[in-house]
Symmetry: C2
Subunit: 329 residues, 2 copies
């Protein structure tokens, strides 16, 4: 058994590049009483990884020299705790490494799902983020129009499919005609607009003839500004992330804020998936129902090999994924 880990070689000042990471051989972790040794099976690749490199957020900032943190699905290969047995599958706060040791009580035992990757997509953070954000923050009602940015991304794709299942009109935003076609034809959105198109605003207005009741914002920036103009009175902006802002500095904010929030009586609300941990069981039951009924199709973007994690993250920030991106070891 040999261990490797990827550390942050240097914090990025602007765009994230491969040289900000370095692969190292590492010792096998010691396993103390109450701990388990875990083999990393899947590592979630998220825009949030990038934000952790920009300073303290809802978690400590990542510093140069640190192994890159990740949400991970792991298999127990040695146990010094009654809580977990060898062969158990768990979710935990991991790092980009083959092996890690963790206190058993910091690991969440997961059901054994086929394929395992679904624990990272529809039954993982992406599916739960989509469910909690749309249902609890957005509060959709059948007949309303839901606009979703990063619609071809992991969270966005689930948001749109859930909203469709609930009887909403669903319009996506994605980069490029090919992605937009995929969002409509494969994910079943009613329409999808290319945010790179200079005619985006007109196209959106056409795609949302009754305005927008819920904007599920995965990107912030100029797209948020545009969406605000289309919102109906009493609309809700679900603030799930700001991909467009993670990788740049000093971008200007939406110029129509807070003016339109007042005039249209909008509610803009941020959330993090952990806020709704007490409602995870409800989310999983609903997601399983929609997967079984075929109303949610699961698309996954699996990159193989620990050494490919940096490029997987860099590519995600540039928007080259379709569906939930993860690295399989």
């Amino acid at each position: 058994m040999k261990n490797r880990e990827i550390r942050v070689a240097e914090l990025p000042q602007a765009e994230l590049k491969p040289e900000h990471f370095a692969l190292h051989d590492a010792p096998m972790p010691d396993v103390a009483e109450g701990e388990v040794l875990l083999r990393t099976r899947l590592m979630s690749i998220d825009a949030a990884n990038r934000s952790w490199m920009k300073g303290a957020t809802y978690r400590e900032a990542v510093k140069a020299g640190d192994p890159m943190p990740t949400y991970a699905v792991c298999e127990v290969v040695e146990s010094r705790s009654d809580r977990l047995a060898v062969g158990d599958i768990v979710a935990t706060e991991g790092v980009w490494a083959d092996y890690i040791a963790r206190k058993a009580h910091r690991c969440q035992k997961l059901p054994k799902v086929e394929p395992l990757t679904h624990l990272m997509s529809v039954y993982g953070i992406a599916g739960k983020t989509a469910f909690h954000g749309l249902i609890h923050v957005g509060q959709p009602v059948a007949g309303e129009t839901v606009l979703v940015s990063a619609a071809a991304g992991s969270v966005g794709g689930f948001v749109g499919q859930i909203a469709k299942a609930l009887g909403c009109r669903v319009v996506g935003l994605a980069g490029g005609a090919e992605k937009c076609d995929w969002v409509v034809n494969e994910l079943g959105f009613d329409a999808c607009v290319d945010y790179r198109d200079p005619g985006m605003f007109k196209a959106l207005r056409k795609a949302c003839p009754n305005g927008v009741d819920i904007y599920f914002d995965n990107v912030g920036g100029a797209i948020l500004e545009t969406a605000l103009f289309l919102m109906n009175e009493r609309g809700r902006v679900v603030c799930c992330g700001a991909i467009s802002q993670y990788d740049t500095e000093g971008a200007s904010g939406p110029r129509n804020l807070p003016g339109l929030v007042v005039v249209k009586r909008l509610r803009m609300e941020g959330f993090i998936v952990m806020d709704f941990a007490d409602k995870d069981a409800v989310a999983l039951r609903a997601l399983q129902h929609w997967v079984a009924s075929g109303q949610i199709k699961v698309f996954e973007d699996v990159v193989d090999g620990l050494e490919n994690a940096p490029q997987a993250l860099i590519g995600l920030l540039a928007g080259d994924n379709r569906g939930k991106r993860m690295v399989r070891l």
Copy 2:
């Protein structure tokens, strides 16, 4: 009986100036069946007047040639309706004029209060806006810190006094040391910071040692951006207005939006006082209680004479009022 009215001579492209208005002699209005003839007693001067000149908001845009609309307290001087009698005091959508005719059912009969001006301040839109926005949108709890911009303005002054009555720590923002002293010494805020001071951020941090739980935003712009940095997790931003944006074009928005909304799970919510009309009776009872107990002191800024309305509005936008500004005819 002679009538005069002030019309919008030309729509402002940038800063509002006296030449955008013109005083005209006007015919006495005809009073149709079901209508009343009203003598304007008080006209509310609000930052919102300026926003109506910028395009459609929650009401139709004001066009060149239109008499300037206003929220007005009037006395019935002739009645062709069973609903109202000569001498009744009513609130209605008026214009800047000595006399107007209105359908009786579009007039809200008011109690006869001494002094009459209180119907425009603490028992009028300012007091109700402060109450509904703070209570229903902000949802304060004793011990929380409430930050209020335009603290020396009509709404802001009531917000702070209500929050104090509820057991919150209250910090204001106002322009200039003299105004700030007044906010602390007369209105009873715990602290007030001069937003023109280059050391504003440090001063605010010192004034809010436990961060900010509710930011009651009357101004938008750079102050909103600063306030967001100080917000605690799960904080609420009550979006009541955007004075800083009414009189300028193309200002940039807060650069930390929506990033901080996500990270701190903030709720930003806009409202308009009419949204809570069904709760006005509750608001009035509470406000009367606090006025009687001395926990709310009422400051009014009364300008005499119809012809002085344009300057009263221009001055308000420049921040030269203390307490609710109105014009008395």
